[in-house]
Symmetry: C2
Subunit: 238 residues, 2 copies
């Protein structure tokens, strides 16, 4: 199949992004809860992996009728640092969970090191009876640790743009373009065109407001300079 | 204005319920973040009051660019017990937050005792530099403690049906009818009619699926018996 250069960047972005709606999150958490119920295992406590697990964990509490909700925060050393990018528990829990069945919840399992570490830290800190893990999505092609339960299997790596990360995504996406091109001054149409090329049309259409919000913030902070568009580009968005 | 008996229960339910969409939650959290920014105060850490504060807290992290997210769980002694209904911290935090500005977040401030207690427990446990409080909504007619920031003022008490509590609401609403009428056997049309009378048409229309889901669960657990409808009722919903 022949794809011209317009088709190339409209259809095959450099970084594939799927914008996830809140309805999908509700449906996936319902499906995840069903799988847990079907296994005849009922948690007494749910522990969210901060920050990604917060919304799924709260929805699972509702679907499974669980009142007790806590969180542990797992973060990664920034890869910019001269040490290996490694997950560590920034905010552990320090409560007695003896006799309790604990479900650790995250949004997406990529390599799996965050949720695995959260599980280990709970087993060490809190004397639970049992700890199981659950995630809305698992990228099976890269996961080294598989959660006990998950709703959706993702075969190829893709960036899932969750609603609760919309500003951070929009900011990071702009800065990625700025850094990798080395170009700090952009006109809006040019930047939109670059976004179509890098992240695809679905992202640009559904998150256009967030893109503008993030852009405004980055301009104010001096990370990017916005100039007037001189020539009319191929794609005009107003 | 004359309201006939049909109008009475269709328009003025016993318990006024407003179903909150996720778009409203996103918009309120954005508005809340704007108010915090306008005050020139930026938190280093966000602490969600479990369980209600989980979704708003995660969204605020995004709007405010806050990475550190923790939670404390505040619960109320059940009013059924022979002790006063009083809030207490079930799962406190035990980490060092010295030098940090902390924002405590909840969904709605009713009397305000939960968020006030969460704030106090943080000041006692964790040596923060400063603790401020924020909620999406405040029912000002009943609030004894006002949060530092809020997005929406509610003047009259109303039940806000958040998406993350949909199953619990549906279950509680059915059981409230069962308990207060003393009637444990219902036909579906009758139960729908009772829901219209108690909670209004907006709730029944928007949460019909959850109502059926909760009903099925309660039937299986033996809390309610579902029988075939004999006579055709005034309102038929199929």
């Amino acid at each position: 199949m022949y794809i011209n250069w317009v088709g190339t960047y409209l259809n095959v972005p450099k970084i594939p992004v799927k914008v996830v709606t809140f309805d999908e999150i509700v449906e996936w958490s319902r499906k995840l809860a069903e799988k847990i119920k079907e296994s005849n295992w009922q948690p007494d406590v749910i522990v969210a992996v901060a920050r990604g697990g917060y919304v799924p964990a709260r929805l699972l509490c509702d679907w499974l009728g669980v009142s007790d909700l806590l969180s542990v925060q797992v973060v990664h050393w920034p890869s910019a640092a001269q040490i290996a990018e490694k997950a560590y528990v920034k905010y552990p829990i320090n409560v007695d969970l003896s006799g309790k069945r604990v479900l650790v919840v995250d949004d997406i399992v990529d390599t799996g090191d965050s949720i695995e570490l959260a599980k280990k830290s709970l087993e060490e800190c809190c004397r639970p009876k049992e700890v199981k893990t659950a995630a809305l999505q698992v990228i099976t092609s890269v996961a080294k640790f598989m959660p006990d339960f998950y709703a959706v299997e993702v075969r190829e790596w893709i960036w899932f743009a969750y609603q609760w990360n919309a500003v951070e995504d929009a900011t990071g996406f702009i800065m990625k373009i700025v850094k990798e091109t080395g170009k700090t001054e952009w006109c809006l149409d040019e930047l939109i065109q670059a976004h179509l090329e890098w992240y695809g049309s679905e992202y640009v259409e559904k998150r256009f407001g967030y893109m503008l919000y993030a852009l405004d913030m980055l301009v104010k902070r001096g990370y990017i300079k916005l100039s007037k568009c001189l020539a009319s580009p191929n794609i005009a968005v107003r």
